[in-house]
Subunit: 426 residues, 2 copies
């Protein structure tokens, strides 16, 4: 087995054998196959794809490279949610405690910001002192005690995926369905889950710009879920505008708290309930979607879901006291409408890149985040605006970056004569 | 300028700007762009190609990354020959002194074995004590004194090409026309030449398997040559069987000496004279091809070309005394015909890989070569053979490797009812 030959084989469009993939990834983890060779293979996979069988093998090698959580004889249904990422998507922060309040275990391994999309772990880390990188034992203990926790992928969970993932971000090999799929699922399966609901986002602020790609990914994830005996549901949702009223770091935690307090924006609650109803149905604790929606509303109204959020933060060492004051931005600016009319387009990806510039994400792997940074959206697509109406409130604690981003944002919306609100669930 | 964005741009099929290519290669040389990122870009170039304009820029950045030889006011025409590589191709060893004897300057920067093809530098290094890696000043001095020298690419000549080239061999990104072309020509142009003749080999023992690819490469090289004011001729030749009677290391030097002594095999002399006649015509020292052929034959007959070979080796510190004895292999075996008939096919690439196994090339970058190793070919395609006739004599100084290779070689020819000699010049 010669690494360059394996790369050339994939480059020429041939399927790699289990043996070849196994060898390549193991030697890569051990360091005898270099980052350069892995990058070349990843780019060849980008162009030539992988069969389902190859994707299964890739995923399994990545999964087996680390530990797998095992909640022996759990009385509760163990599940998780994953989103392909977007702008203002704080649903995980709401859904994890909501599902835990409903009786499910949610051992959530979440991600950091990637490309132009925000990261759940970055957002929750705006809570002072919160620990998102516990040992496997402590993570398991948190789940047993509180039924939900949100942590980052440790070196113990699918380390091959972790090593490959950091390479993909630097080498233009992120948007490949078999790579996306094996990466997502190697982490999720390592959580020892029985059920999964996937929020596959489509639109100008999502990795997947077309329905076709989204359906391919959904099909692949369902196939693999089935293979691993994981009940899998897919929700396709629109990412043609930011989700909710806020996008950023601490401001999204604050908005999630608002949602758990019963004051969340419609779109955010709608998608949260859509995803949650699948998990409640999978778990068999309700008989139909209507009952699931009612149960979730009750868990919000009774503040039981909020209680699970607070106990989760508490177990993870985080301090919510005075959170809003601590994460108050030093500066803010308004971005105004340049004419009267109806908003008919928001360039959501560009808003995502602007959030990076504001301090909410990584342009280089070791960039320092500004937890106070974010954008408040006063208007959505389909809304009428007048000339000089404020559209966005932009805030952070670095005036130079703020000025730059305010300018960038002028180029992220279009106002015309007509336009209507977007469908959220596709 | 963000490296991952540049990679993604090429991945998506867009042309890179001069600025982007410049930045990427310079930062790669300085180390701030990693091997992984370069590998990913190379693989994207493999798939998406490059426009002529991009190839020009790539070549120019690689060229400008190092020194360029300058023979101020040279009275002699300065030229070189390059071959895309094959099995048994010792033409450079004959052509360089032949052209020097005819009055041209040939500052030849040659290569080491690559993939399954042999390397001129590896072959000449079978001569004890020969120095193939002089400083630029010494190289220039050799050329001024003797009009020809054969050296390896130093760190001073197109270092960007050198760094990229070693990566390509390990990452399955060798067979890309713009990469091949810019790599060849960055070295050749750095020699300060006025003329170039390219031997583009086509066939089962060449990198280029089809006429179409060969013509594309020829077109690209001619365009770039013209751009740099270099007179450029292309010869297309067949590599569907080894060239000459020997392939290996010292044995090819010995065969080259035979050629310079007037005892060379027809095919080797034919292609040498074909290439040489282009250079003599370019230089204007003959008026037609016939005169060129006559002049070359005279330089062989008078031993003047041989004298230039010997003085070249001498200047480079090599010792030819007792060369045949010093490089005598310890072991040899014959490979016999398994039936009677006519040889109608030789798997030349497989013979090339067998030569690597024998000790004539690199399976890993730091493999040690066996200069005594090689194969003598008793028969060519179109020759009649009887059952048990010897076809190859295989030799080296490592019995285990020899046994292995003798077995491999049984699978490198086909004997049928009919077959005819191959055309050499296409």
């Amino acid at each position: 087995l010669i690494p360059a030959d394996i790369i050339s084989k994939k480059r020429d469009g041939q399927a790699l054998s289990k043996n070849e993939l196994n060898y390549f990834i193991k030697e890569y983890l051990s360091g005898s196959i270099t980052n350069s060779q892995m990058s070349a293979l990843l780019m060849a996979i980008y162009f030539k794809g992988m069969s389902d069988r190859e994707t299964f093998v890739l995923l399994d090698v990545m999964l087996q490279s680390g530990s797998i959580l095992n909640f022996e004889n759990s009385k509760e249904y163990i599940a998780d949610k994953h989103s392909t990422g977007g702008i203002g998507d704080k649903v995980s922060l709401i859904l994890a405690p909501l599902m835990a309040a409903g009786g499910l275990k949610i051992p959530m391994i979440a991600g950091r910001g990637l490309g132009f999309t925000g990261g759940t772990v970055d957002k929750i880390e705006s809570i002072p002192n919160i620990n998102t990188n516990p040992s496997m034992e402590v993570f398991k203990d948190w789940i047993i005690k509180n039924r939900c926790a949100i942590v980052v992928q440790s070196n113990k969970i699918a380390p091959a995926d972790k090593k490959i993932y950091s390479l993909r971000n630097l080498t233009g090999t992120v948007p490949s369905l078999p790579l996306i799929c094996s990466s997502i699922l190697s982490k999720k399966i390592a959580e020892g889950i029985q059920g999964l609901v996937m929020d596959i986002k489509i639109g100008n602020g999502a990795f997947l710009k077309t329905k076709k790609d989204a359906i391919s990914l959904g099909r692949l994830i369902t196939n693999i879920g089935t293979f691993y005996d994981i009940k899998t549901n897919i929700v396709f949702s629109s990412m043609d505008q930011p989700l909710g009223r806020f996008a950023g770091l601490a401001c999204e935690v604050t908005e999630a708290l608002e949602c758990l307090n019963g004051n969340g924006p419609n779109d955010t609650m709608r998608i949260t309930f859509e995803l949650g109803s699948h998990l409640f149905l999978q778990a068999g604790i309700v008989n139909d979607k209507n009952a699931a929606l009612k149960k979730m509303q009750a868990l919000i109204d009774s503040k039981k879901a909020l209680k699970y959020f607070k106990s989760m933060v508490n177990l993870q060492g985080g301090q919510l006291d005075d959170f809003k004051n601590i994460t108050k931005p030093k500066y803010e600016q308004l971005v105004h409408s340049n004419k009267s009319g109806i908003i008919n387009f928001m360039d959501t990806e560009k808003i995502g890149w602007a959030l990076l510039d504001l301090g909410c994400g990584y342009k280089k792997p070791d960039d320092k985040l500004d937890y106070t940074a974010g954008i408040e959206f006063y208007k959505k697509v389909g809304d009428e605006v007048k000339y000089n109406d404020p559209l966005y409130r932009v805030f952070n604690s670095d005036l130079i970056r703020l000025e730059k981003v305010s300018h960038l944002l002028l180029d992220t919306f279009n106002i015309g004569n007509k336009g209507k609100p977007l469908e959220l669930i596709l």
